[in-house]
C-alpha cells in the first residue's frame, strides 16, 4: 500500500479504519463470548450412559423366542427428571449370549410388535422366519431382529447394551447394528 506521496506503509485512513474495525469487533466479541457457549450448552451434556434394571433374571430369557420386558430408565430432561418407560425384547442367541432388542422400527421409528398369542406369550411366526412386524410400512424382522431386505427397514433392530449383575439383567445405551 502507498499513500499520496508514494511512501510504502499504512496510510492514516487505513490505520484508523483498522483501529475502528478492531474496536468494533472486540466489542461484538465481548457480547458474543458468553452467548455462544450458552447456546451450545447441550453439547456439553452426555446422554444417559447408565444401566437400568430390566427386572428380568438371566434365567427368564429363552433361546426359542424373544421375551418382552417393560422397564424404567431415569432420564434428565433439562430441569425435569423422570423415569421413562422403555421396552426391550430379549433372546439368547445361538452362542447363548443375551441380546436385548429395541422395538423401535429402524425404518421410521414405529413400534414393532412381536408374534404373541392372546395372553402375550410368544408363539411361532406365521410367515416363515419373520417374527417382528411393524404396523406402519410392513417392515419385518426375525427373532434376532434381522430385517427383511425386501421391506422398508434397511438395518436390523437396535440393541441395548447388556450387563448381567448377580443374575439380574441390566440394560444400557442403545446402539445400531450394521445393515
Amino acid at each position: 500500500m502507498s499513500d499520496k506521496n508514494g511512501k510504502q506503509g499504512l496510510s492514516r485512513r487505513q490505520f484508523l479504519s483498522y483501529a475502528l474495525g478492531g474496536t468494533g469487533a472486540f466489542m461484538a466479541a465481548t457480547i458474543a463470548a458468553p452467548l455462544v457457549p450458552f447456546a451450545i450448552d447441550p453439547l456439553t451434556r452426555t446422554s444417559g450412559g447408565g444401566f437400568a434394571d430390566s427386572g428380568l433374571k438371566e434365567s427368564d430369557v429363552k433361546s426359542d423366542f424373544p421375551t418382552m420386558v417393560d422397564f424404567k430408565v431415569h432420564r434428565k430432561d433439562g430441569w425435569i427428571e423422570e423415569n421413562v418407560k422403555m421396552r426391550a425384547w430379549l433372546i439368547k442367541d445361538e452362542s447363548g449370549k443375551i441380546m436385548a432388542m429395541s422395538p423401535i422400527c429402524t425404518h421410521l421409528g414405529c413400534q414393532v410388535a412381536g408374534t404373541v398369542d392372546g395372553n402375550g406369550n410368544p408363539k411361532p411366526s406365521e410367515d416363515g422366519e419373520w417374527w417382528f412386524h411393524c404396523p406402519c410400512h410392513g417392515g419385518r424382522y426375525t427373532i434376532y431382529g434381522i430385517n427383511d431386505k425386501a421391506k422398508p427397514p434397511q438395518r436390523p433392530l437396535d440393541l441395548y447394551e447388556v450387563k448381567v449383575e448377580g443374575g439380574k439383567i441390566m440394560l444400557g445405551a442403545i446402539s445400531q447394528r450394521k445393515a
Binding site: I31, P34, L35, P37, F38, D41, G78, W79
Partner: protein, 223 residues
C-alpha cells in the same frame, strides 16, 4: 476475499450509497469528546442503544431455556442460572442491562433537557423519546415477573394494586393487566408475551422514528 464478495454484491445491488448514507456523516465539533472531554454527555443516547442491543441478544438466548409457565418458570430460571454453560453470565447481562438501560436513558434525557435540545424543531423527537421511556418502563415491569420467584410475584401484586387505584376504571385495568382475578398462570403468559413480542415491536418502531428524526434534523447546536 471479503473485498471480492463485497464488490460482487455491490456491482449488482449498489449497496455502497445505502450504507454511506447511513454511516458517513460529520460529527459536529461540539459533540466530539476528542475536542472537549465534557462532550461525552452526548454519548448517552448511543450507549442506551448499545445496551438495548445487548438486551435483545441476551433475551433471545435466554428464551432458548426459559418457559413462561407457573410450574416450570422458576425451575427453568434456576436451570439457566445453575446449570447452563455461562448461564449466570447471560442472565446477569440481561438483569444488570435492564437497570443500565434505564440509567443511560435517564442520563440521555437529562443531557437533552439541559442542552435544550428538545426545543423547536425537535419537539416531536422529544415526544417519541418519552414514548420510548414508557415502553422501556413496560419492559422493566413485565420482565420483573418472569423469574416467578417471591420478589417477582409480590412486586407484580403491588404493581397491579397501583393500577387498580386509578379512579373508576382501575378495577378493569387490573383485570386486563393480570388477565383475570388472580395473579397466576394467565398473568405470567400475558407478561411474557408483552415482554418478548409486543414491547420489542413497539420499541423498534419508536427507535426507528427517533433515529430517522435525528438524522433528518441533525444534532442540536452548541450551547
Amino acid at each position: 476475499m471479503f473485498k471480492k464478495t463485497y464488490d460482487w454484491i455491490d456491482e449488482r445491488l449498489g449497496i455502497t450509497p445505502i450504507w454511506r448514507d447511513i454511516a458517513d456523516h460529520d460529527v459536529p465539533a461540539h459533540v466530539n469528546p476528542a475536542n472537549k472531554m465534557s462532550a461525552f454527555v452526548y454519548c448517552f443516547g448511543g450507549l442506551t442503544f448499545l445496551i438495548i442491543v445487548t438486551q435483545i441478544l441476551s433475551g433471545m438466548f435466554l428464551a432458548m431455556y426459559y418457559v413462561p409457565d407457573i410450574v416450570n418458570a422458576y425451575r427453568s430460571v434456576q436451570y439457566i442460572t445453575d446449570e447452563v454453560l455461562l448461564g449466570q453470565i447471560v442472565r446477569g447481562m440481561h438483569f444488570w442491562g435492564a437497570s443500565l438501560v434505564i440509567i443511560m436513558m435517564f442520563l440521555h434525557m437529562l443531557r437533552v433537557f439541559f442542552t435544550g435540545s428538545y426545543k423547536a424543531p425537535r419537539e416531536m423527537n422529544w415526544v417519541v423519546g418519552v414514548l420510548i421511556f414508557f415502553v422501556v418502563m413496560g419492559f422493566g415491569f413485565t420482565g420483573y415477573l418472569l423469574p416467578w420467584d417471591q420478589k417477582a410475584y409480590w412486586a407484580t401484586a403491588v404493581g397491579a394494586q397501583i393500577a387498580e387505584s386509578v379512579p373508576w376504571i382501575g378495577k378493569y385495568i387490573k383485570t386486563v393487566l393480570i388477565g383475570g382475578d388472580v395473579l397466576g398462570a394467565l398473568t405470567l403468559t400475558r407478561f411474557f408475551a408483552i415482554h418478548v413480542f409486543f414491547l420489542p415491536a413497539g420499541l423498534l418502531g419508536l427507535l426507528g422514528l427517533h433515529f430517522i428524526m435525528i438524522r433528518k434534523q441533525g444534532i442540536a447546536g452548541p450551547l
